[in-house]
């Protein structure tokens, strides 16, 4: 046999094999079937909303999408989120077109609506799945999820019509639902709502400060001449009644608690310098004003020192010591309740210097706390302000939370936190504002659990494990203008629709750790970290642009998901000097920069890498390697690196040469 015939036969065979590619129908999604929802990458409604609905037994319609260019199944809580995930250009660019979309099928589950519009199913039935294009969606009914109104999917048209008829809704198909959703503008706003939240915080502080104008009803001390002198000095217009009562502990009242019990509501109790045995309960709107650190409330090392169970209580100019060392309350019995409930029962009931419960609008100001457990715990207390307060916890992790808002929206400002576990641990504390604080030597500076719409602004954090740590899957948080240094991780995020802007993270092991979806990272200064920016998100749909990322050992550590492209509207980030030039002088280098690529990363230091970076081969790769990001190995590309830093003055303070 001739060699050429043999080789030709082999080639022909190979061509036949290649030709088989023509008969295979690629990616029609027909063969795909839904997976268990807990095995999807979930997004959509926040963890809080989902958790609340689950606890209450309400149905949140869910969907799952199989994208053509992403191997993981993405699960969506809520039909709105599902439609966004299928239609949003950002998702399509990152993950390709949807091969298959499945939604819950409520047909046959006999759904009912509560008075509020929540959807319940009898016998806690679990709805199955149907293809979105085969489904019918009931819209315009009062049906809602904790996040708002929702469409309800049915696999059967008759069932959908019946439900629509019963609840004054109408029925649309998948296309119809998508069109309805498309009508709403989904403008991407890269500006965090800082001003608005600052205004709320200002108002809240102002309102809480109203407690400082209360007339003085009582002056408390341990030394009679001092007490009487002080009481006499209270001018009549400041006094409640004719003159404040002079109360000498041990003579006029057995304990501080007994004295305070006598004070009328909406008055001020002045505590003179001295040490008070205090396991105090305040059940009326009172102001307890000390003289500063000389007024010491000593809990004797047992339990909580001050327990507040009334709105509008103020504790000012005090020092609190002798806090019990029980970090957590005791579960009366393990009733198998949800994790967050256990947190509530345990974290919320540990020993504290001050525990606020149902104490809206209360104020803790200029209080110095030494605690082996918690500092200020706020339960179900909105509008609470903790300011100008200093909490010193124990070294190591044996202490607990310096400020612990739970189910409470509060303001924490101008305070110092040193030691203990977390400076502020926000648990279901939507809208909390944490600003202008100084934090050092503890675990997390700000620890966000199930808490959305917070503002964490202008805080200084040093020598901690993680400066700002957003966990669970909240939404709308704004982390702005903070300065985190010398820590393991500067800022670590999660959730959606959040903002991380204008922060400085320096000299950390990891500067910025991005775990969010559809969030904005802009104007941050990331310098001298081991890893500048770490991506951990599985749904890389964030806008990362106009950040200065320089002087880090590694600029970027790619995530586990896919290729990410970091630029918005032709503006990427500043990475120092990168290969390429800016010919048209628009401040953008006309060559993509790959901070995760060894050649690009070393281009500045190694002449070999620099020469390679300019090679036609490298340029050629540039062309297509940003396509089909969902199928790419995890890496990061900046298609429009900046020629000049966004915040050069910040870099100068770090001695990073700006050339």
């Amino acid at each position: 046999m001739r060699t050429v015939t043999l080789a030709g036969a082999v080639v022909l065979l190979a061509l036949l094999v290649a030709g088989s590619g023509l008969v295979v129908d690629t990616g029609d999604g027909e063969q795909l079937s839904p997976v268990a929802f807990d095995r999807t990458l979930t997004t959509g409604l926040t963890g809080v909303d989902v958790e609340q609905a689950r606890e209450a037994g309400y149905v949140v319609p869910r969907g799952q999408v199989f994208y053509s260019q992403y191997e993981y199944v993405v699960g969506y809580y809520g039909t709105d989120a599902l439609v966004t995930g299928v239609s949003h250009p950002r998702h399509r660019a990152q993950f390709g077109r949807p091969l298959a979309v499945f939604v819950n099928d409520l047909a046959g589950t006999d759904p009912a609506l509560t008075d509020e519009g929540y959807v319940t199913l009898p016998d806690a039935a679990a709805p199955g799945w149907t293809r979105a294009e085969d489904a019918w969606f009931v819209v315009g009914t009062p049906a809602r999820t904790p996040a708002g109104p929702t469409a309800l999917p049915f696999g059967d048209r008759a069932a959908a019509r019946a439900f629509a008829a019963a609840h004054d809704g109408s029925v649309v198909d998948w296309e119809g639902l998508r069109e309805r959703r498309a009508d709403r503008t989904d403008a991407v706003d890269h500006e965090p709502p800082v001003a608005e939240r600052q205004r709320w915080a200002d108002r809240t502080v102002e309102r809480a400060h109203g407690t400082l104008d209360r007339p003085v009803s009582m002056v408390v001390g341990t030394d009679r001449p001092a007490v009487e002198t002080a009481a006499g000095r209270v001018s009549p217009e400041d006094a409640a009644g004719d003159a404040p009562a002079a109360v000498v502990l041990g003579e006029d009242a057995p304990t501080l608690a007994a004295a305070v019990d006598r004070a009328p509501a909406n008055t001020t109790v002045r505590l003179l310098a001295g040490r008070y045995d205090a396991n105090l309960s305040v059940g009326r709107p009172l102001t307890l004003a000390g003289t500063g650190t000389d007024t010491v409330l000593d809990g004797g090392g047992d339990g909580t020192v001050v327990t507040v169970s009334s709105p509008a209580v103020a504790l000012t100019d005090l020092r609190i010591v002798g806090v019990g060392d029980a970090n957590a309350g005791q579960l009366e019995s393990d009733d198998g309740s949800a994790w967050d409930r256990r947190i509530r029962l345990t974290y919320g009931y540990g020993d504290a210097a001050v525990r606020l419960h149902d104490a809206d609008r209360s104020l803790v100001e200029n209080v110095r706390i030494d605690t082996p457990s918690n500092g200020v715990v706020a339960l179900d207390s909105d509008g609470v302000v903790v300011r100008e307060t200093q909490v010193t916890g124990t070294d190591g992790l044996s202490g607990f939370m310096s400020v612990l808002p739970m189910y409470s929206r509060m303001v924490v400002e101008d305070s110092r936190f040193d030691g203990g576990r977390d400076a502020v641990y926000a648990h279901y504390a939507d809208g909390t504002v944490v600003r202008d604080n100084h934090v050092e030597d503890l675990r997390f500076g700000f620890h966000d659990m199930y808490t959305s719409d917070t503002l964490v602004v202008n805080n200084t954090v040093r020598d901690v494990n993680t400066g700002i740590y957003v966990m669970t899957r909240p939404a709308g948080n704004a982390v702005v203008g903070n300065d985190v240094r010398n820590s393991s991780v500067g800022i670590s995020t999660a959730g959606t629709a959040s903002y991380v802007t204008g922060n400085v993270v320096a000299n950390n092991e990891v500067g910025l750790s991005i775990g969010t979806a559809r969030s904005t990272y802009r104007g941050n200064t990331v310098v001298d970290n081991g890893v500048g920016v770490r991506s951990t998100t599985m749904l890389p749909t964030n806008d990362v642009f106009e950040n200065d990322v320089v002087g880090n050992d590694r600029p970027v550590s790619p995530g586990t998901a896919t290729l990410e492209s970091w630029a918005v509207d032709g503006r990427g980030n500043y990475w120092g000097a990168v290969p390429g030039v800016d010919r048209d002088g628009d401040g953008v280098v006309e060559r993509a920069y790959r901070p995760t690529d060894p050649v690009d990363r070393n281009a500045r230091r190694s002449p070999v890498a620099n020469a390679l970076a300019y090679s036609p081969a490298a340029r050629m790769f540039d062309q297509f390697q940003q396509a089909a990001p969902g199928l790419r190995r995890p890496s990061v590309v900046d298609p429009a690196p900046l020629t000049d830093p966004v915040h050069p003055n910040r870099l100068e303070t770090h001695n990073v040469s700006v050339s």
């Binding site: 050429v4 290649a18 295979v24 260019q69 993981y72 399509r92 190995r633 995890p634």
Partner: protein, 264 residues
């Protein structure tokens, strides 16, 4: 059919000639290493991504390979005088050219496919970390996309070789052959497309202009067959059919002209 027999023998001679020419072997090896290397350098775990990575380099390299292998096929024998000796045999010129073409085509296709096997092996062997707790599914990415790409590229290689054979038939000297071959590669890779780019100034350009450049026809074929099915946006149009037809036309026309010129 006696023609078929000697066509095979002529092909065999061409095949062995290439295999026994160290320079051509080096070029072939270089091609395989380069394309395979590009695949491994990209290190992607997806066939679509691999196709996109390879598209441009392969489009540049295939004409180079084809011309390297093909441009001396007829010219060499003409220059040495052996072609004259062959012409005293009772064979038909067009069948002889077909044999020459086939023999070299086996080499070119072999190299092209080998390089694709090498580059393609990166996908199943790349150990992208899998999240076991999260359900994964077969994306629109599939080996079929890559196979289609290989098929389209094979057709493109055949066209490039046919044009190289035409150059070989037309050239009358080594220098002329080199100039023609270089010109051929440049025309394929840059010239024709530049001309097309110039023509695409208005909004409505007939799709058929793609047929004027084999490279563009090939590229549109790949985009339609291998890239579009995954949801990467590609404008719709009858480009697959048109691309295939255009490439086949280039192939047939080049070979036909080559046979006429070779036997003069």
């Amino acid at each position: 059919m006696s023609e078929l027999r000697y066509v095979a023998d002529v092909a065999e001679r061409e095949f062995r000639t290439v295999l026994r020419t160290p320079t051509l072997l080096a070029v072939g090896l270089g091609y395989v290493v380069l394309v395979g290397g590009i695949g491994w350098l990209g290190g992607t775990g997806a066939y679509l991504a691999l196709v996109l990575d390879l598209l441009t380099p392969v489009e540049l390299l295939v004409p180079v390979l084809s011309f390297a292998v093909g441009y001396r096929a007829l010219l060499g024998d003409r220059e040495s005088g052996e072609l004259e000796t062959i012409r005293t045999y009772p064979i038909a010129g067009h069948w002889y050219v077909v044999g020459v073409y086939l023999g070299r085509a086996v080499v070119v296709l072999g190299l092209v496919l080998l390089s694709f096997v090498l580059a393609g092996s990166v996908v199943p062997t790349s150990d992208t970390a899998q999240l076991s707790v999260v359900a994964s599914h077969p994306t629109a990415d599939s080996p079929a996309l890559y196979l289609r790409y290989a098929l389209a590229t094979a057709l493109f290689a055949l066209v490039a070789l046919a044009i190289a054979t035409l150059v070989s038939a037309a050239a009358r000297s080594t220098r002329g052959g080199l100039a023609l071959a270089t010109g051929g590669v440049v025309a394929l890779v840059v010239g024709l497309d530049s001309a097309l780019l110039g023509s695409v100034s208005g909004e409505h350009v007939p799709t058929a202009v793609l047929a004027l450049s084999p490279n563009s026809a090939y590229r549109s074929l790949v985009l339609e067959l291998s890239v579009a099915p995954t949801g990467v946006a590609v404008p719709e149009g009858p480009t697959a059919l048109l691309g295939t037809a255009a490439l086949l036309a280039w192939l047939a026309a080049s070979l036909a002209l080559a046979t006429r010129l070779a036997w003069r």
